[in-house]
């Protein structure tokens, strides 16, 4: 790959605004790689947690208790109707003040929830609010008569939900879920706002040090997200195909 590094060096000299610095500078390359890795970790954690929140919320929404339903509705309204970036800042700066600290070395006081932790929590709740609505739509698509059949076989409410309603609802929900999870991966860039060293954060530190690398690094951002989201979508489509039921239209 030396030829690539040399070519990048030559280009940087010939065209000072097109300094592909991470192709030849090891420190910058390291930042990019660790940024990508952090973005992947952040995305995977938020994907899983937001789906769990979505399922739990959709289940709670079917609760006979009005209070439980009102709480879920309030949660959805709050997280869906406010900007995720403001949520992130609020979680980290406002709630972060009240988190207990611990001291691994008896010297430094470290909050038990780091900025990465807050980013995961706040983004998961944000995407989770949409997932609740997505799963709810899927649940409503399961015919009442199918539920009655399982009820008359002696299934409890949670057994009906787990074994009958949810497997069918997920199949209906997948296309919409797909969209929301794509948005979630892209929204992880906002963790930049609380100094989570994900890809955008690392990129900005690179172009702050080397303004000549700004355009190339922006291009790299696009490429990385196209690839990451592409992988996610390919995975989701595969899942959708695997879940297809022979002779069933959904």
């Amino acid at each position: 790959m030396d030829w690539l590094a040399d070519a990048a060096r030559d280009l940087a000299e010939a065209a000072p605004r097109w300094n592909f610095i991470w192709l030849y500078d090891e420190k910058s390359a390291g930042k990019i790689l660790s940024g990508i890795w952090m973005t992947i970790q952040l995305s995977v954690a938020c994907l899983i947690l937001s789906v769990v929140i979505g399922l739990a919320g959709a289940w709670a929404q079917g609760s006979p208790s009005r209070i439980v339903r009102a709480i879920v509705q309030g949660y959805i309204q709050f997280f869906r109707n406010t900007p995720p970036f403001v949520q992130l800042l609020f979680f980290y700066f406002a709630l972060g003040q009240f988190t207990p600290t611990w001291s691994p070395d008896g010297w430094l006081e470290i909050p038990i929830i780091s900025n990465v932790g807050w980013a995961i929590i706040s983004l998961s709740f944000f995407a989770g609010a949409f997932n609740v609505e997505i799963f709810r739509a899927g649940i409503e698509a399961v015919p009442e008569s199918t539920r009655e059949a399982s009820e008359s076989l002696g299934f409890t409410r949670s057994q009906t939900f787990r074994y009958i309603v949810m497997p069918l609802a997920i199949r209906v929900s997948l296309p919409a879920l797909n969209n929301n999870l794509v948005n979630l991966v892209k929204t992880t860039t906002q963790a930049f706002g609380i100094a989570v060293p994900e890809l955008l954060y690392q990129s900005v530190t690179i172009w702050n040090d080397h303004p000549s690398a700004q355009y190339p690094t922006m291009l790299l951002l696009f490429v990385v997200y196209i690839v990451l989201v592409g992988i996610l979508v390919a995975g989701m489509n595969r899942w959708e195909r695997q879940m297809r039921i022979p002779g069933y239209g959904a």
């Binding site: 008569s145 199918t146 009655e148 059949a149 008359s152 002696g154 299934f155 074994y163 039921i245």
Partner: protein, 248 residues
């Protein structure tokens, strides 16, 4: 009060049921003895489906009482699981679980609800599928089966819970005439084995042949009832005569 086989297995007493302000059942009473086959007939909207849905507590009742083997269905502290172990139900639209194969549909309730051993349940499920004459279709999904086949899987699924009473809610109404027969044969076999069956049906030929007792309902009340021979020959109420005149 414990139930003994010399008393009615299903006892319906002066049942009233309303949906909002619409009163669908206006004081319905009848008894079913163990091993009896009872057909409920009547025009659409007469409340017959509602009536059998009340028997396994899919609909609640506003007045009167229903008891199945001594279990008060209308009681606020009703043990629904205990009731549903005794009562199996088959629906007009089959309502199979579309994401499960035929045999999985049959096996689900015994393994999940009764927490029984899987291998044993599977052996019984295969036997049930054979009993409804669907050998070879064990691993087909409902979407790959015809309506009549799906309905027979639904019957096997209910039987897997080993119920004492089977409810059939217009189970042939969504089928074409040829497949109606295969489902009716299955039910006839069940009746011959001594299963207590309560059917809501429009199949008059079937009712005449298999039923021990026929009830005719209209506008929320039982207008007329009797064993098939007398019911079809001597129906006296003008509403019954008009209905039978249209159907027969």
């Amino acid at each position: 009060m414990t139930w003994t086989p010399d008393r009615p297995i299903v006892s319906v007493r002066d049942v009233h049921k309303s949906f909002g302000t619409l009163e669908v059942l206006k004081g319905v009473s009848f008894d079913v003895m163990k091993g009896e086959v009872v057909c409920i007939i009547g025009p659409s909207g007469s409340g017959k489906s509602t009536l059998i849905r009340c028997i396994n507590a899919l609909n609640d009742i506003q007045g009167g009482s229903i008891a199945v083997e001594g279990i008060e269905v209308g009681a606020p502290d009703l043990d629904k699981l205990a009731l549903r172990k005794k009562v199996g139900m088959v629906f007009q639209q089959y309502n199979l679980f579309p994401h499960k194969t035929a045999i999985e549909n049959v096996m689900m309730a015994p393994t999940l609800v009764l927490k029984r051993d899987r291998a044993q349940v599977e052996a019984e499920a295969r036997a049930l599928i054979a009993k409804v004459r669907l050998e070879g279709k064990e691993d087909s999904y409902p979407g790959e089966l015809s309506g009549g086949q799906q309905q027979r899987v639904a019957i096997a699924r209910s039987l897997a819970m080993n119920p004492d009473v089977m409810l059939f809610d217009e189970v042939t109404a969504a089928l074409d005439p040829e497949t109606v027969k295969e489902v009716l044969v299955t039910i006839k076999d069940l009746a011959a084995e001594g299963m207590t069956c309560i059917l809501v049906t429009h199949e008059m030929g079937f009712a005449r042949e298999v039923a021990d007792h026929i009830y005719f309902t209209d506008r929320g009340v039982i207008v007329e009832h009797g064993p098939p021979a007398t019911f079809f020959a001597e129906a006296s109420d003008p509403r019954t005569r008009e209905f039978l005149g249209q159907i027969l």
